[in-house]
């Protein structure tokens, strides 16, 4: 009955993909704002309309609209900003506003966990690595010439945008097709969201949780094994024991 919503979702995805494609950096040139801003505005407006249609009360407040705008705008800047550090920071913004949206929808635990895991741990590591790779720039003029190739222009922009937005359109279309009633949030259980989530995770999904834990453990052990320092054979034979030559002095 609400099939126009599906087409609206497809249209929003199409406009959004065109906007992001236009905004991707080429040869270190910043994207044209005159084209970009209306396109993004259209996309975000469409998304807000969509949310309004099938999420019920949660999307009707001004702050959730603001959060949607923040997270979508931040997401676009993640892929389009020429400086990697800023991209990572916009990612943090996306994570934070998404977490806030989750809180608005009544899923506080998920929101807080998202912040702890993504913003607090994973993205710090990203920022860490990016900063190690690249010192802060001198100025806007010198900036682009100093950049490495892969920062100056995006690779395979069309394929990337197409793949991403086909995925988004599919998911959005499916959700839109299910109609408003199915997507309405379930009223939270009496004992609180967090407790219910914990109960479900440790009973119905216990095996999945344990498997994920084991996977992470294996990954950690693997990382430690790879990162362990080794010396080549030739160095080993030439190595002298510390303290082999010279005299020993007692401290103090």
């Amino acid at each position: 009955m609400e099939s126009y919503l599906v087409y609206l979702a497809y249209a929003v995805a199409a406009i959004g993909s065109a906007a992001v494609y236009a905004a991707l950096p080429r040869d270190g040139v910043a994207p044209r704002k005159s084209f970009l801003v209306p396109m993004l505005g259209l996309t975000i407006g469409g998304v807000v309309v969509l949310l309004d249609k099938f999420t019920g009360d949660a999307a009707k407040t001004w702050y959730s609209v603001l959060l949607v705008v923040l997270s979508l705008g931040g997401a676009v800047r993640v892929v389009t900003h020429p400086k990697p550090v800023y991209s990572a920071l916009y990612f943090v913004m996306v994570v934070l506003s998404t977490a806030a949206l989750m809180v608005v929808c009544g899923a506080e635990f998920l929101g807080a966990a998202l912040v702890v895991v993504y913003a607090g741990a994973i993205l710090v590591t990203y920022v860490f690595v990016i900063m190690l790779a690249q010192q802060s720039h001198l100025g806007t003029e010198a900036q682009f010439s100093m950049m490495v190739d892969y920062d100056r222009s995006s690779r395979e922009p069309f394929a990337a945008v197409a793949a991403g937005f086909v995925l988004v359109a599919t998911v959005a279309g499916v959700i839109a097709g299910r109609g408003a009633s199915a997507a309405n949030p379930v009223p939270p259980p009496v004992e609180g969201n967090t407790m219910a989530l914990g109960r479900v995770l440790l009973t119905d999904f216990a095996i999945s949780v344990e498997l994920a834990g084991v996977l992470l453990m294996v990954a950690m052990i693997g990382a430690i094994a790879i990162a362990r320092r080794r010396f080549p054979k030739s160095e080993e034979t030439a190595a002298y024991q510390p303290g082999e030559i010279g005299r020993h002095v007692k401290p103090f």
Partner: protein
């Protein structure tokens, strides 16, 4: 051909790590021990009152004979400048802050005397080498340490100023060997 190193292998010193005692290995007892010391000092008001000098109101007891404050140019017993413009201090000065211009002396007891004697007190490091070098004990360091000025120029002390300092401080610290001038 490699140059022969100017050090011997036996010159290398390996400082072994100190052996840690049982409590040091447990770490926490040592932390509490350290905090005991800190706390003890925190509540020892008597020690504070004895050691702290509240500077502008109280002043430290200086050892006036050897304190190295601002310089002075000594006068001999006839009130003339004692310096003989031998340039020893200027040569000895590691900071190159002394500038002397000598001239023929109007007095019979010496050949030269300084017509200009400038010390840049901002450059000076107050090492006292000039005092050591002076053959007639004409330049000396005084126990005065309140040395202030509004500009860099003001801090270059000329002969008059240095002699004034002598007038000011001769009671506090008399000239060591007053009778040296004489050649």
């Amino acid at each position: 051909m490699t140059a022969k190193p100017d050090w011997k292998q036996t010159d290398i010193i390996h400082v072994d790590q100190p052996e840690l005692s049982m409590t040091e290995r447990m770490y926490l007892p040592q932390i509490f021990g350290g905090m005991k010391t800190t706390l003890r000092h925190m509540f020892k008001k008597k020690l504070r009152d004895e050691t702290v000098v509240q500077y502008p109101e109280q002043k430290r007891q200086l050892r006036k004979e050897i304190y190295r404050g601002v310089h002075r140019l000594n006068r001999d017993d006839q009130g003339r400048v004692a310096c003989v413009a031998c340039f020893m201090c200027e040569t000895a000065c590691p900071a190159h802050c002394i500038h002397i211009e000598g001239a023929e002396s109007p007095w019979p007891d010496r050949e030269k005397y300084p017509i200009k004697f400038d010390i840049d007190e901002l450059r000076c490091i107050y090492c006292g080498m000039c005092e050591e070098a002076c053959p007639v004990d004409a330049i000396e360091l005084t126990p005065e340490y309140h040395l202030v000025g509004g500009s860099r120029e003001e801090m270059i002390f000329d002969k008059e100023k240095l002699l004034n300092i002598f007038d000011r401080t001769k009671d506090e610290k008399p000239r060591k060997n007053p009778n040296i001038t004489g050649y």
